[in-house]
Every structure is written in structure tokens, then in C-alpha cells.
């Protein structure tokens, strides 16, 4: 079995203030490979599996992730807190029944409603091709798909799902295909965002991915088109239409291998409008019975499409096609031009492969590969220019028809990935689901532009990312209000201000309270430290007059302090008490008594030094 990519995010437990860490294990395929996605994240003591994909390029055990990486002994239930599936493509969910029913997992599996609706159909479709047509054994059964789907909990966009007391997840719109989602996983103040596949530009039927400034510790992004800044979409569309048009004009047949859901609808809308505009007559077909059903899903989940389609769906439903009809196997031999959409998209099995075999020998015909093809598939081979293909029972097939590759996969390109980073503002970046060389280029770019760490783990590699979680502290409102009162009117929210309090750690919680309250709670007494300082002063006046003179003097020197002349014969500066006495023998030598507590140490010390210097002459006594 091949290894599963895994991402382990290990956070901190409890209240230690040491920095935490998030670990990611790239189990299979999600590493530097576009084949299949499966990532394991450990964060704050929770283990989450992100996607559970299958590699389409292998026909043996290697097509499934190596779950023995997680545990050697049987079931996964106790090792995983939840499984999240980003969208219905088989390279993201194809191993799900194998994982849950054959390896064994009974916990929750989260996916959006459209994914929940469509994923079992694709799984069943794939199972049929593998088991019924190819006669493979050791594969999951229909019943296993059903049992697996019973464990699925549907996820709504932006809904915060509390998996348990500490772990919460939230889905964001990802574009890419109907129901595709990005997920935020959060434990305490640590968080990870996993993008799945996404696209940042709206197309004919889907909107663009969007996420708020959630500042995750790690953003795990796909990087299928890591280096490509794809030429403008319009150009690509025009090119596509031109090629189809030319082939049809010269009487050739066009085969477009697609997956039943996803790009197929996008291209159908494109051809439908073109046929309408150009008044074309050549028939367009869509293979397999899945099509009509597929379009029905798009109608019922119209809220997941782009704004334009959503807005006009009452007047005109874009998924009711006039020119595109259902395909019958016998049509493949019909003379004359036609355009056929056939499944599956990588020519690895099924109807698209059958039609391809029939049409490959004629150079008038054309095949347009609108998406990425995994290594090992026939799609991949002909895209690499292979002209002779070895088929089963040792026959060779000559490829004479024109082969065109036109990227219509809705993945984010380098620009889109950078855009998403700007949106989410992650502290670390982790690239998966791409080719090593291209990822290296993007990694440099990201580190340069955003000065954040960027990781790109290989399959089976564990990445540990240090996080810096903050510690929640409860602050007493008494303290806040007191500080507020001292600071005058309402504080400027943009300006930081210093305040003073006591931090108590008790029962696993931190609280910030007034010092008095802390002493009270802990049963401690405050120790009063007082000073009384005698200052001698020559001043030929009566005692009360001297006091008045001191009062006047201090008033003029200490601006902004509260100074009071009290009737009991004392002067108070803030809480510092000043008294005057003299002996009968030396009435002109006054002894000042200054008394202050340690809290006023600075002021007390200052006053005693000041008064020692004597009072300036010319001070009036009143």
C-alpha cells in the first residue's frame, strides 16, 4: 500500500503558556503528488482526517491510502475524532468506504449536502467499473457505500459545528465543483484551514472561493496549478470553441472525456450558448444515464452555483439544455460530425474509453482533455504524445486523432493561491496536492511576499508547526471600571493603555482582579509600610502660618496634584499628611512631620527633599 499523507497539528493542553505546536502527517497522495488526498491533522490533542481519496492511476492496493500509518491494530475509530471530506471527486473521497467499512471507522464524517448527495453515486459508479467490469475483488460493496454514508453528518456553509466540547469546524465556499468546501478546524485558539480543491475566479456556473480573515495557524492549500498563471479564461474558452467548431465543420467527431459532475456542466453551458448563437446543427451528446440526474442535482442545489445563475433560475434554469441530448452506445458509429461528452474524465475505463478506441484511428476526429490526468491513465499517456497504446489482451491501438489539452479544471492558480493567503492571513502555509518542482517555486514566492513559513511535506512525512496560542484570562469588571474611571472618559479603542491588576491562577483558570480582591480571595493581609519623616525648618512665623505658607508653596510647585489644607491643622498632598510643630524654646525652628505609605513612596521622598530646602521668602501666610 502506498503511504497516506498526514498532517499532525499538536497543540498544547491545559494552561501552560509555552508555545504549542501543530503536527501534520501527510498520509497518501496529498503530499507532492496530485493523485489523491488524505491528510491527518493533530491539533490541541484532536486527530482529524482531511479527505480520504483514491489514486486513479493504480489498480492495486496502492490506490488506497496506507491507514496502517495511523494504527497497526485494526479500527481507526479511537484514533480519529472526525473525518472531513472537501468535495465529491474520487481523489478526495474514493477511499471513504474502504476506510470506514473495511479498515473500520464509526465516528462522524462531515461533508456538505451536495457532496453527501453526489458522492455515493460516484462511488457506486466507480465500484461498478472496477468490480463488475474488471472483475476485481477485494473492493468495497454497494452495501458498504450505503453503510458508510450513514455515518455522514451534513455540513452547511459557515455553520459552526461543535464536534465535541473543544473541537469545532466550519465550512467555507470553495467553488471548484458543486458543494466543494474549505474547512476551518479549531481547538481553543489554535486553528487550521484546509482548502481541498478551490478556484478563486467565478466561472459559468460556480462562484469564487471565499474565506474571512480567520488567521489560522496553518493554511493547507492545494497547489495543482502552483506555477501556472493561467491565461485569461476567455482566451481558453474561445480556443476550445474554435477547435470544436473546426472539427465539426470538417465532419469530424469530438470526444470530451469528463466526470459526470463538475467541469461537464461548465462545458455544457459553454457549448449550449455557442450552438445557440451560431445556430449549429451537429448533435451534442452526453453519455451515461448519470447526466440527467446530474443536471437535476444542479437544479436542486442551485444555491451553490454562482450569483448569476441563482438570480435568474426562476426565469431560466441554466441546467435545462436544449441542444444536448442523451447518448446511446450505437450513436458512436453514426456517420457525420458530433460532439460527445463521455465519462470518466481520465480515459481509464468506461464509456469514454470505449468511444476513444472507436475514434482513435481517424485523424479527422479530435479528443479534448479538459482536466488533469493522473499518471498511469490512458489520458495521461496520450497527453504525453504516446502514439501507440498497449491495450488489454496485448493489442495495440494507434492514436491518429488530434489530442488537445485544455485546462478547464477549476483549481486556483498561483495568483489565486496568493489571493487566498491574503484573505485568510495564515501564520504558516502548507502546500499539498501538487508537483514537487512547481511547489518549490510557489513556496519561495510565498515566503518572500508574506514572510511566513511555507512547508511542502512529501507523502508519509510529518510536519510539525509551532503555534503560539494565547491564554484566555478573565478580567474582573470592577478592575476594568476602576481603571476606566481613573483614565477619565471613554478610552480610545485604538490606543493601548496600561492598567494594573493581579493575576490569580486557580482551578485551572486565570483571572485578573484588583489587588485588594486578590488578597481577600487568598486570605492574605496587606502589610502597611509607613514612613514618618521629621524635617527641620527655620521659619519665623506661628505654626498655623507656617502651615499655610507650606500649603501655598506646594500649591505653586505641584501642579495637577490634590492638595488640601484641612481644619485639623494638617496639609494633605494626595494621601501624604504634613504637620507642623515647634518647641517653646525655639519657636522659629519648626519640625515638619511628613507621613506616607509605601504606595506613595516617590511623592513622599520628593516632598521631604523639597521641604528640607526651606520655604521661599515672600510667601504670604494666607
Amino acid at each position: 500500500m502506498a503511504r497516506v499523507p498526514k498532517v499532525l497539528l499538536r497543540g498544547l493542553l491545559g494552561l501552560a503558556v509555552t508555545p504549542g505546536a501543530v503536527t501534520l502527517d501527510v498520509l497518501e497522495g496529498a503530499g507532492q503528488d496530485v493523485g489523491r488526498s488524505c491528510i491527518l491533522v493533530s491539533i490541541g490533542g484532536k486527530n482529524i482526517m482531511l479527505d480520504c481519496g483514491m489514486h486513479m492511476g493504480f489498480n492495486d492496493d496502492r490506490r488506497f491510502p496506507d491507514f496502517s500509518y495511523i494504527t497497526q491494530q485494526g479500527r481507526l475509530t479511537e484514533f480519529l475524532d472526525c473525518v472531513i471530506i472537501s468535495h465529491f471527486h474520487l481523489d478526495h473521497c474514493g477511499a471513504l468506504p474502504y476506510m470506514s467499512e473495511m479498515v473500520g471507522y464509526d465516528g462522524p464524517i462531515y461533508m456538505t449536502h451536495p457532496t453527501k448527495a453526489i458522492c455515493p453515486i460516484l462511488l457506486e459508479d466507480f465500484r461498478k467499473i472496477t468490480v463488475d467490469k474488471k472483475g476485481e475483488t477485494n473492493f468495497f460493496t454497494s452495501q458498504m457505500i450505503k453503510d458508510c454514508m450513514k455515518k455522514v453528518v451534513p455540513l452547511n456553509l459557515h455553520q459552526t459545528v461543535q464536534v465535541d466540547d473543544e473541537l469545532e469546524i466550519k465550512a467555507y465556499y470553495a467553488g471548484h465543483v458543486l458543494g466543494a468546501a474549505m474547512v476551518q478546524i479549531k481547538v481553543g485558539s489554535e486553528s487550521v484551514v484546509y482548502t481541498g480543491d478551490y478556484n478563486m475566479t467565478p466561472d459559468r456556473h460556480l462562484g469564487a472561493a471565499w474565506i474571512d480573515k480567520c488567521r489560522p495557524d496553518i493554511l493547507i492549500s492545494e497547489s495543482t496549478y502552483a506555477t501556472t498563471i493561467r491565461d485569461s479564461k476567455r482566451c481558453r474558452e474561445r480556443d476550445f470553441l474554435k477547435k470544436v467548431h473546426e472539427t465539426v465543420e470538417r465532419g469530424g467527431k469530438v470526444l470530451i472525456p469528463v466526470f459526470a459532475l463538475g467541469r461537464a456542466q461548465e462545458l455544457c453551458i459553454l457549448l449550449e450558448t455557442f450552438w445557440e448563437r451560431m445556430n449549429m446543427k451537429a448533435p451534442i451528446y452526453f453519455s451515461t444515464g448519470l447526466t440527467e440526474k446530474a443536471n437535476h442535482y444542479y437544479k436542486l442545489f442551485i444555491t451553490w452555483t454562482n450569483q448569476k445563475i441563482r438570480k435568474t433560475f426562476v426565469q431560466r434554469n441554466m441546467f435545462e439544455f436544449k441542444h444536448i441530448k442523451a447518448f446511446d452506445r450505437s450513436y458512436a458509429d453514426n456517420p457525420g460530425p458530433m460532439v460527445v461528452f463521455a465519462t470518466p474524465g481520465m480515459l481509464h475505463a468506461g464509456q469514454s474509453l470505449q468511444i476513444f478506441k472507436k475514434w482513435a484511428g481517424n485523424e479527422k476526429n479530435m479528443i479534448i482533455m479538459p482536466g488533469y490526468c493522473v499518471q498511469g491513465t490512458i489520458g495521461h499517456k496520450i497527453l504525453n504524445g504516446q502514439k501507440k497504446l498497449e491495450m488489454e489482451n496485448r493489442q495495440t491501438l494507434e492514436v491518429k486523432l488530434q489530442v488537445e489539452y485544455m485546462s478547464f479544471s477549476a483549481h486556483a492558480d498561483a495568483k489565486g493561491i496568493m489571493q487566498l493567503i491574503r484573505m485568510a492571513e495564515p501564520r504558516n502555509m502548507l502546500l499539498v496536492h501538487g508537483e514537487a518542482k512547481k511547489m518549490e517555486f510557489l513556496k519561495d514566492k510565498i515566503e518572500q511576499e508574506f514572510t511566513i513559513n511555507c512547508f511542502m511535506p512529501a507523502n508519509g512525512e510529518t510536519t510539525t508547526v509551532i503555534t503560539n496560542p494565547s491564554v484566555p484570562v478573565d478580567i474582573s469588571l470592577n478592575l476594568l471600571k476602576r481603571e476606566m474611571a481613573l483614565g477619565g472618559p471613554l478610552p480610545d479603542p485604538k490606543k493601548p493603555r496600561t492598567m494594573h491588576g493581579t493575576l490569580i491562577m486557580k482551578d485551572n483558570s486565570l483571572r485578573l482582579v484588583t489587588p485588594e480582591q486578590a488578597l481577600k480571595e487568598l486570605g492574605l493581609n496587606e502589610h502597611q509600610l509607613r514612613f514618618t519623616c521629621r524635617v527641620q525648618l527655620q521659619d519665623p512665623h506661628s505654626d498655623p502660618d507656617t502651615l499655610s505658607r507650606i500649603y501655598t508653596h506646594l500649591k505653586s510647585v505641584l501642579k495637577g496634584y490634590t492638595i488640601q489644607h484641612l481644619p485639623d491643622g494638617t496639609v494633605m498632598v494626595e494621601s501624604i499628611v504634613i504637620k507642623v510643630s515647634s518647641s517653646a524654646e525655639e519657636p522659629n525652628t519648626k519640625v515638619l512631620l511628613l507621613s506616607w505609605s509605601y504606595q506613595d513612596e516617590d511623592l513622599g521622598s520628593f516632598l521631604s527633599t523639597l521641604l528640607k530646602k526651606g520655604l521661599p521668602s515672600g510667601l504670604s501666610s494666607m
Partner: protein
């Protein structure tokens, strides 16, 4: 924390909560019962209505024959119908930060609040609430603008005149606030301020408050709201239902542990069982059709109508009504039927699983496909040519004052073969029918209100146990017509805090703690107790603790035992030669004779009396501090 109550209507609430310096409006209900005081707006000229006599007071002193018309002993205002708005004078609407909408019936006053008032905030609602709310507003505007009425009656509103009018016009409340309908432009502008939210989505407001919508089970996308900070929780319960109809079930458990629960939107028909009413509806409908009559169902274009159609879908075959045409007439009929099919996420489990097949969640798709149900934007156009009788017509407005229903009342009112079946609970059917009297057609009243009844709500409150409940005053006493039914009111301990229009309630809250974040830079907190100075600053909308500048303040005492002995061995570099120690009851007094300095040492205090010898004083101070534990 304060609650300002801007509406007195218990099911169409409009309250404003001031919570932690955020101002949050809860719902924007528009009281449309005021339109019952007006004459209907006919779609085609009605000789009957135009011939109604004007009203002149008996003594002839007040002549309002242009504004008021008499019909079957009652007086109606002859003007474009007006609505009773939420109170606008109680607080400055421009200070509202956010508006939380609970369901599409409770947002109809939105344009009056957000437009031309200086409002700059955000409105939060779920997607179905926004889309269907938009349809209902569009319909309302369309109903009004389709039959423009030049006249605007104002004289009757003067207090001195209104006082002298016959009832119920005399008793109409807040007539000075009554306003004509808004324009489509206002609707679009108001709805552009809506931000969409999903159930259980946590929305942060200014880092101070978190609001979360919860499924309330009443209609597509209907929600209750949780408004909370780290330590305080207010639940706002508006139109909720525990019956299994089409929406997602009500989320009850998330309402637990509230400090205050604001309860509005209970059933308006506490004695009518919705299932029984549905049965009556079907049997009356079948009876009328079999007798060759037509059935008129005045209704809103979204909500209960989906359930009615679903019920009929099953009923039609059994009752042999397969060939009877069903018509749904509204400017938004098509949109409403289409929209209902695309909100799988917001539907009950049964309907969700249909979408997975994929099949439309509501069976009215099949009724439309088989041509049993037809929908038209109005009676004009295709409908007039395709219309066959006997038939069943669903159309608005349920007040019978405007919309296509007015036409059918004029058309079918004179025949006793026909039946009008009221299903919406918002309007008294007798008042609704008043301007059509005398009437020959049969009237059946089957109000279907799926909102919580008193029995359900007391059970709910027992389960979620809020500390305090706030509710409209109507819920604290039995309905006036059934004053002996003490079971039709809320009885709670402590008793609920009642509100009425224009009340301002102080909510019983004691806030004691606030949550902030200690940044890791502050470093490990070593002891169980530490005194810190903090820099309180708002970073990314949440307060953080930063930094640790030097600390000095409170000094609790370590044990003083033996300290006096220590003082005896004072370092001689200060030139201290002679220390005299004296025992007192609480401690010791040390006398440094040469320096004429006293140190009084006690358990909870130290007093140093000395000359102005600063070096000595600070030396002694530091010495004492060494024995004290710093906090």
C-alpha cells in the same frame, strides 16, 4: 443592559437590545392589521364600492364623506391602505449597529427602519429568509402600485376628529405613525444591507458580542438568536414551532443556560389544533367542489401554503378531485414555488433525503407537472382565458384589502355555493369580511398557526431554564375573550417581565467578568499569584494582555518572626551602632538611638519614623521589603 420595545404586536415584534455598547435590533415586524380599517382596493372598477355613502357625523358637524365610507354599518377609510410602523421616537434609529431577523414575516418593516433614517448598520438573516422576504415585499409593493390611489386620507387621523368617529376606527392605535407602503427602490436598498448567515454560525460583532442564529422550526430559514458574550447569554425566541412540517426542526438545546430569554411569536390561535384545522380545510374544500361551488383561500404566497399543497397532493386522489383545477395567483407565485425547492439545507430530514435522490423536496412540483396546479402572476393575462370553474384559488392578500383576492370576493361573494376558507391567523376573519357584507358565500375559519402554544412553551422553558423571561404583556394574562382560561398564559417563577409598545426594560444582569487573551510573550506564569501591569489593547477586535512592565504595589507579609533579631545585626556600613529593642503586644519597637529613629514592627504593618536622612530611610525601607512578599 436595556431592552427598548418598539412594537406592541406579540407576533410581529421589534425590540432593541443594548448589550455591551452594541445596539441590536431584534426583528422588524410590520403590524398590517391596520389595513382592516381601509376599503379594499379592487383590481377592476367596482360599482358597489364606488357607490358607498360617505360618512358625516350624526349632528352633521363633521363631514368626512371624501375620506370615510360606510358599508354595512361600519366606517372605512377610502385611501391607500396604511401600516402601523414600529415606534421611531423611542431611540435614535441611526445608532442601531445590527438588525437580526428571525423569519420572513418579521422583516416587513425593514425598509422603514433602514431607509431615510440614517441607519448605517448591517442586517443579518438566513438565505431563505432574505429570498422569501424579498418575494413578500415585492408582492406587497406590487399589490399597492398596481391600483394606485391618488387620495391620501389624513383628516380622520386628527386626535380631535378620531375621538368622535364610530368604532373600531375610534379605537385604532398610533394612527399618527401609520404609513403608506414603501417603494421597490426602498426594498432593494434595504435588502442590500442584509448579510447572509447560516444556522449555528457564530457572528462576531465588534469583538464584544457574538450572535448565532438557531433553527426555530417555524418556516424556511426561520431562526431564533443567541446573543452572548463570554459570560452573559440572551436568547431571543421568535416564531418557533415543534410541529413536523417542512422546515428543519427547532434547535432547543442551544437555548440552555440563558440569563435572559426574550419570548415572542407564540401561536395566535392557542385553542386551534393545526392538524384538526387542516382536516376541516380539506373536507370543506371537497364539499364545496362536489356541490359545484368554488373555493377561495386567501393566503400569503409562502409558508403554510406549501403544507396546504402537500396535504392536497395526498387528498386530491382519495377525494376524487383529480380533475378540479387549483390556481395559485400572485405576482410571486412562480418564484415562491421555485424557491421552495432549492433550500434543501433548511428543510426537515425527510425532505432533505428526497433531494439526495435527486427529487424535488415538495410534491407541488408534481402537481405543476401534471397540470393539477397552475400558477399565474395575476388575474389578468393568461389566467382569464384558461380559468375553469368550479376551482380552488389560492391568492393574497389574507387581509382581503388588496391583491387579486379582492376580485374573487366581488366575483364569488354573491353565491352561497362558493366558500371562502381562512387559513392565515393574522387577521380576524369577521373584520376582513366586513366591507363585503352582505355576503352570500360560505365562510369557514380554519386558522393554521404552527407556532408554539402555551403548553409547549412552558415545557420548553422548563427544559432550557432561563434565569429570567421577558415577553409581551399579552402573554402574562389569558386572552380577553377567554379570561377564565388561565392555561392560556405564561406562569413562571420568577414571573416573566412583561413589555408593551414603548416600554424600556432594564434587564437583570450582573456582569462581573470579561474575557481577554494573555499573549504568550508575557511568559510562563510561575506562581499561583502574580502582580502585573498590563497593556490593554484591542488587537483584531479582542482585548489582549501584553508586556509586563515593573511592578510595585501591595505587600503581604511573610512571617515577621525573627526579623527583629535580624535588625539587631544591621549592617554597620550605615554607621548604626546602638539598637534598643522593646517588646510590645503586637511585635517589636526598634530604637536606633544615635539616629533618633524608630522602627515599629507589627504583623500587619511597619512604621519607620526618622529624620530627613534619605540614605538611611531608603536603606531601612529596602531592608523591610526583603522580608515582605511581593504580590
Amino acid at each position: 443592559m436595556k431592552l427598548y420595545c418598539l412594537s406592541g404586536h406579540p407576533t410581529l415584534p421589534c425590540n432593541v437590545l443594548k448589550f455591551k455598547s452594541t445596539t441590536i435590533m431584534l426583528d422588524c415586524g410590520l403590524d398590517t392589521t391596520s389595513v382592516l380599517q381601509f376599503l379594499p382596493l379592487p383590481l377592476v372598477h367596482s360599482p358597489r364600492l364606488s357607490k358607498l355613502p360617505g360618512w358625516v357625523s350624526k349632528d352633521g358637524t363633521i363631514n368626512l364623506e371624501k375620506e370615510l365610507k360606510e358599508c354595512a354599518g361600519r366606517v372605512f377609510v377610502d385611501s391607500q391602505p396604511e401600516f402601523c410602523l414600529p415606534e421611531k421616537e423611542l431611540l435614535d434609529l441611526s445608532t442601531i449597529d445590527v438588525i437580526l431577523i428571525s423569519n420572513y414575516h418579521c422583516m416587513m418593516a425593514l425598509p422603514y427602519i433602514t431607509e431615510h433614517t440614517g441607519f448605517t448598520g448591517t442586517v443579518y438573516a438566513t438565505e431563505p429568509t432574505l429570498q422569501i422576504g424579498r418575494l413578500l415585499m415585492e408582492e406587497l409593493v406590487n399589490f399597492m402600485e398596481r391600483v394606485p390611489k391618488a387620495q391620501s386620507a389624513t383628516c380622520w387621523k386628527y386626535k380631535e376628529i378620531q375621538r368622535l368617529l364610530p368604532g373600531p376606527l375610534k379605537d385604532a392605535v398610533e394612527v399618527s405613525t401609520w404609513k403608506r407602503c414603501y417603494s421597490m427602490q426602498d426594498v432593494n436598498s434595504a435588502l442590500s444591507k442584509v448579510q447572509l448567515v447560516g444556522y449555528s454560525q457564530k457572528v462576531e460583532l465588534f469583538g464584544a458580542v457574538q450572535v448565532t442564529p438557531l433553527s426555530s422550526g417555524y418556516s424556511l430559514g426561520s431562526s431564533n438568536w443567541i446573543i452572548q458574550s463570554h459570560y452573559e447569554k440572551v436568547s431571543y425566541v421568535s416564531g418557533s414551532s415543534l410541529l413536523t412540517t417542512h422546515p428543519q426542526p427547532m434547535d432547543q438545546s442551544s437555548l440552555k443556560n440563558s440569563d435572559v430569554l426574550i419570548l415572542t411569536g407564540l401561536t395566535q390561535m392557542p385553542t386551534a389544533n393545526p392538524d384538526g384545522m387542516l382536516g376541516d380545510f380539506c373536507s370543506n374544500l371537497a364539499m364545496t367542489i362536489r356541490a359545484g361551488g368554488n373555493v377561495l383561500v386567501p393566503c400569503y404566497s409562502s409558508g403554510v401554503i406549501y403544507d396546504l399543497l402537500e396535504c392536497l397532493y395526498q387528498f386530491i386522489e382519495n377525494a376524487n378531485l383529480g380533475s378540479t383545477p387549483f390556481y395559485f395567483i400572485s405576482p410571486v407565485a412562480n418564484s415562491s414555488l421555485e424557491f421552495s425547492q432549492i433550500f434543501a439545507e433548511w428543510l426537515c430530514h425527510n425532505k432533505q433525503s428526497k433531494v439526495y435522490l435527486p427529487e424535488p423536496p415538495f410534491p407541488h412540483a408534481e402537481l405543476i407537472q401534471t397540470n393539477k396546479l397552475k400558477h399565474y402572476p395575476s388575474i389578468h393575462g393568461d389566467f382569464s382565458s384558461e380559468f375553469r370553474q368550479p376551482c380552488v384559488v389560492f391568492t393574497g392578500h389574507p387581509s382581503l384589502r388588496f391583491g387579486d383576492v379582492v376580485h374573487f370576493m366581488e366575483l364569488w361573494g354573491k353565491s352561497s355555493l362558493n366558500t371562502i376558507i381562512f387559513t392565515e391567523p393574522d387577521f380576524s376573519y369577521l373584520d376582513a369580511l366586513a366591507p363585503y357584507q352582505p355576503l352570500a358565500m360560505k365562510c369557514v375559519y380554519c386558522p393554521i398557526d404552527t407556532r408554539l402554544n402555551f403548553h409547549q412553551v412552558s415545557k420548553l422553558l422548563k427544559e432550557v431554564q432561563p434565569l429570567h423571561v421577558v415577553c409581551p404583556e399579552q402573554y402574562t394574562q389569558p386572552p380577553p375573550a377567554q379570561s377564565h382560561r388561565s392555561d392560556l398564559m405564561l406562569e413562571l417563577q420568577p414571573p416573566p417581565m412583561p413589555y408593551r409598545r414603548c416600554s424600556v426594560l432594564g434587564l437583570p444582569f450582573r456582569r462581573r467578568w470579561e474575557r481577554i487573551q494573555l499573549l504568550p510573550e508575557v511568559g510562563p506564569v510561575a506562581t499561583h499569584l502574580s502582580d502585573i501591569s498590563i497593556l490593554l489593547s484591542l488587537v483584531h477586535h479582542s482585548a489582549v494582555l501584553k508586556n509586563q512592565p515593573p511592578i510595585v504595589q501591595v505587600l503581604p507579609l511573610k512571617k515577621m518572626r525573627g526579623s527583629a533579631v535580624f535588625f539587631l545585626s544591621l549592617p554597620s556600613q550605615h554607621g548604626i551602632t546602638e539598637v534598643k529593642v522593646e517588646e510590645t503586644t503586637d511585635g517589636h519597637i526598634l530604637h536606633l538611638q544615635a539616629e533618633d529613629t524608630l522602627i515599629q514592627l507589627e504583623e500587619d504593618g511597619t512604621h519607620i519614623v526618622c529624620d530627613d536622612n534619605e540614605p538611611l530611610r531608603t536603606a531601612l525601607r529596602d531592608l523591610v521589603l526583603r522580608f515582605l512578599m511581593k504580590l
